[in-house]
Amino acid sequence: MALTSEIVLSKIKEFLGDDLFSSNESFGMLAVIVSSSRNYDLLEYLYKESSLEFTFLTDLTGAHYPDKKGSEFEVIYHLHSLVHNYRLRIKCGLPLENLDIRSMVALHSGANFMERETYDFYGIIFTGHPNLKRILNVDEMDYFPMRKEYPLEDQTRTDKEDKYFGR
């Protein structure tokens, strides 16, 4: 039986109840916004439920929306059910004051590096991760560079003048 967004959405709603905040479908992919405390439960349910089988974690990343007060940071999971060829996006919002979210490494081994990268870029803490430290940037870096308040260029560089580069 082919999966459609109605079936998937109704199963998620049945499982989560009020923890499913909203959903939308854009560019052919269903996206659900859920409470960040239920992320592991939801992904485990989607993994183990025999009619859904979302066993492939395609992508795990973060985003920063400084204008959305109360959920400035977002963790985005892209799941793929290979058996039914259906993709799904799950988003969990996190407020600036409390950036803890449960790690998915126990379920998907491939989440290891992806969570470290999200931590490195945004400072989102994945509780239960075996080795949460910086991965791409230098270990001594003391800020989280992908946050919108930090500039792209290295401010200590001396050989490039901003006015010639249009900045």
Binding site: V138, P145, Y150, E153, D154, R157
Partner: protein
């Protein structure tokens, strides 16, 4: 197959006095000639310029005909540090350590825009040119430079090797330059 070329240019002899069975020239010229035509590069290939270097090493452009048949991956046995590709700030200390391990005489060529000046990556994580950590002899611009450009840069290194003093390491300007980088 094509005709055999009979006007192949080979390395010419330096200036000197010729006679029946002998050739007298200065020692520095002979040493310079030997050094320039047997440079062992260390290919420090980090990104896309590394692939163009692989194309330069392959049979179409062939770096080996300039004397660099043996690529040395150990800095202790290399003469020329060819830095090809972007150097991130995490990699900067590695470049410096590799340079320090090289024995004199040693030269450095920065291949590509990223190694010369940071290239298109004007960001917080990229070193804006390797001359921030090691002294550089030749810069080859390009993104990535064509193999012919890399060979041109290599030939400029050969010119430097041929024409500079054979005890460059004891010149005061050179020592001053290394001090600026914090290398003894």
């Amino acid at each position: 197959m094509g005709e055999l070329k009979t006007n192949i240019k080979i390395v010419g002899e330096p200036e000197g006095i010729k006679g029946e069975g002998f050739f007298a020239t200065s020692l520095s010229k002979v040493i310079a000639l030997a050094r320039a035509n047997s440079i062992w590069p260390l290919p420090f290939a980090t990104s896309c310029c590394g692939i163009e270097f692989m194309a330069t090493m392959a049979s179409n452009y062939d770096l080996a005909r300039f004397g660099s048949e043996k690529l040395s991956f150990s800095p202790r046995q290399a003469d020329l540090l060819m830095v090809m590709g972007t150097i991130a700030k995490k990699m900067g200390p590695v470049v410096k350590q590799t340079y320090i391990q090289m024995a004199e005489p040693r030269w450095v060529i920065a291949v590509g825009a990223c190694a010369s000046s940071g290239g298109i990556f004007d960001t917080y994580s990229v070193l804006q040119g390797i001359d921030k950590v090691v002294p550089v002899d030749v810069y080859v611009p390009g993104c990535p430079p064509r193999p012919e450009q890399i060979l041109d840069g290599f030939m400029k290194i050969q010119d430097i090797v041929k024409n500079e003093s054979i005890r460059r390491r004891s010149l005061p300007e050179y020592k001053e330059l290394l001090n600026q980088y914090g290398i003894e």
